[in-house]
Subunit: 201 residues, 2 copies
DNA sequence: GTTTAATGTTAACTGAGTTAAGTATCGACC
DNA sequence: GGTCGATACTTAACTCAGTTAACATTAAAC
């Protein structure tokens, strides 16, 4: 029944855009008093997970250059969201640490997302949720299996999904910070064309 | 059962990123011999739907400036994917028309997406698909209802889902080209920070 | 026939990325 | 202990896709 396949595929794609684009953007806008780019937000999110992160770690994780991270940290530091802290052992390295104001934005983001999620989840019975979860997991794993570039930071779980995460490459960040090398080779945060900057209109 | 809610929400978000980001990017890269930005691809996609489109229509639809559209059309015209055609009635206006090479890219994109989709759909029984469709539609409508900025071009259906489209504001484009004014107020294609440009590494 | 509005292009600018060069520190080796 | 290469970060110059503002050209209104 090709038509069902078609409709379902389309609706899955629409859902993806709605969640990954519209919902994320609006939540971030609500959560933060200042405009943050997607990458700046991702940096905060990474810093909120366990482990120490330096400029080059962040560059590797977000797959952008050290120079770009450095500039983003300038911006975030200027907003008092993060700070550079020289490492005791090695005076070349800097640990980037998340400050209270940065945490506040993340907490607010999670709170808003949590609220939206709560309302959404109220729609479904437990049976339906379990059903949907199973189907969603299968969509994810199957879709990723078809792709070459499957490394990414999902970070949707706040770094605590551990071994239950469906994303193989995520597990490193979620539960094993020491494995943080070379995640997300290709879910690039490349030079910008369109969607993810703060709205300036 | 808060934990199920949490897990399900996370997995929905992960699925969204996987589909909207990774899958779209890789498909576009496979489909097009030249690097197209997300907006350039969206322009092609819009042009492939029914109706005549001028610079200002496209600007309104993508929510970027006339000047930006003009430059994008320069680029697409230089690649022989589209052409400017002076309108008989009004010599100020230009109809932007999709050329064969442009259509070829769209066809190839759809073909690849169709293939991926076919494999994915093989995973599910008809019962499961109907189930999933229902749940997905509810996620979409509910999520959109919570958002203020719900205007968007989804264009996932290729412009032919008509009244069955779950996206109210989409219907204009899918089935009623004359309503093409002011779709997508805010699913911005704003100045760029991060993800959607062709990969230059 | 002149003024006003609409359409599209050009020019100057912005912001977030890039690469390449520069600075400082560390570790190793003679 | 001094030099040399590697590592970590920053700075500078550039690119690219947006922006706004000024400018042609054409159409419409009075």
């Amino acid at each position: 029944m090709g038509n069902l396949d078609q409709t379902l595929s389309e609706n899955i794609r629409i859902m993806a855009v709605v969640i990954a684009d519209i919902c994320h953007r609006s939540t971030l806008q609500m959560a933060s008093p200042v405009n943050l780019t997607r990458n700046q937000f991702t940096i905060l999110k990474v810093l909120s997970t366990e482990g120490d992160f330096q400029i080059s770690d962040l560059a590797r994780l977000l797959d952008i250059s050290n120079a770009a991270i450095s500039k983003n940290i300038d911006r975030l530091a200027q907003l008092d969201l993060v700070a550079r802290q020289t490492k005791p052992g090695d005076r070349r390295s800097l640990d980037i640490i998340l400050l209270e104001d940065g945490m506040k934005i993340l907490r607010e983001f999670d709170r808003i997302l949590g609220e939206k999620q709560e309302h959404l989840m109220d729609q479904f019975s437990i049976q339906e949720k379990e059903n949907l979860l199973d189907l969603v997991k299968r969509v994810i794993t199957f879709t990723l299996a078809e792709e070459q570039d499957t490394e990414l930071i999902c970070l949707q779980c706040g770094g605590n999904c551990g071994d239950t995460c469906v994303i193989d490459s995520c597990k490193g960040l979620c539960s094993l910070p020491e494995k943080k090398i070379s995640l997300r080779q290709s879910v690039g945060a490349k030079q910008g064309s369109s969607d993810w900057s703060p709205d300036k209109k």
